[in-house]
Symmetry: C2
Subunit: 192 residues, 2 copies
């Protein structure tokens, strides 16, 4: 068994446990029990409970940043850029729904100074998305809407997605999700 696979299994099992019980409610003893060994051994895998959370959160946050940076670097029009940003968001969420759930629900459990770092980076992501929306309005592709509110609303429609991935009976198809969400965001629900 190669070295990394054991730690990877550890992280995967613990991720799901934390998702189920919540970070604060998951004790080191819970983690040990889930993996069928003793508490002390948990510290052969991680430095502390805090660092465990940090590992998950900053890792998935990085993935989101990389994705939107890639979109921003392209030369497409704003509406196409927004579509790509949404598409990449959906892809990450469908691929890593548990990490995304942590990102949404457990970031409050970070402690300073990492908490501030996290919030700033998240704000950075929002600003990048907002820049796309703003460009779309200026270029006349989007209606003259409240830019910040539109951005936050778009993000809100994306943020609940992990729930569907985790609770849906059938496997979630990112292509179909994308089609639905893009339609919702771009032309709303009214006919015509």
């Amino acid at each position: 068994m190669n070295k990394s696979s054991k730690k990877e299994r550890f992280l995967e099992v613990v991720l799901k446990l934390i998702h189920k019980k919540g970070f604060k409610a998951t004790t080191m003893r819970d983690i040990a029990q889930e993996l069928n060994f003793e508490v002390a051994n948990v510290y052969n895998y991680i430095d502390s409970k805090q660092s465990l959370l940090e590992e998950y959160l900053f890792d998935i946050q990085d993935e989101f940043h990389t994705a939107i940076d890639h979109v921003l670097a392209s030369t497409h029009t704003a509406d196409k850029k927004l579509q790509q940003a949404i598409s990449s968001y959906i892809q990450i969420t469908t691929k890593r729904p548990y990490e995304q759930a942590l990102l949404v629900n457990e970031w409050r459990n970070l402690k300073e100074p990492r908490l501030q770092e996290f919030v700033e980076r998240r704000r950075g992501y929002e600003r990048k998305l907002q820049a796309i929306v703003e460009a779309g309005v200026k270029q006349g592709q989007f209606r003259a809407l409240d830019i910040e509110m539109a951005t936050q609303t778009i993000l809100a429609t994306l943020r609940w997605l992990y729930n569907k991935c985790l609770h849906s009976e059938s496997i979630v198809n990112p292509i179909e999700i994308e089609k639905q969400l893009i339609e919702f965001i771009f032309v709303g629900i009214i006919k015509n």
Copy 2:
């Protein structure tokens, strides 16, 4: 000082404290300190930490149910009903943003059997909203969209609102918010 005002003040101060620190992270000693008295005295106001959370959550949940029941009982068309449902949601959120924040962020801390009760009631709310969306599709006012996904997406756009109420520098105007959100949900962001 009349009897109820003291408990009301207690609940209001503690609500904000729990919002700031998170329910699990807020200790009985934190609560006591915030109110300038000793821990033991907290139990003259509430039965337990759990019951405190229950009080907040079921109270605000009731308010949402009452509001949507009122909309469902009306004889308007589906699109008008949806608009009213959204409007009432926004009114509650702007009036009680801290309770709404708890509803979104802290419900996981409920314990059985109240947790199940809460989740079922929430599901009930979602079904009521979904019924409106479904009627709108059947009557041809809305596009032929995935009904459950549309419902969840609409809810998602509403759920983040408390953030704006709590973090915005200026006072949030529910009328303006409603106008923006209805537009977003009904006709999207694309021009024409």
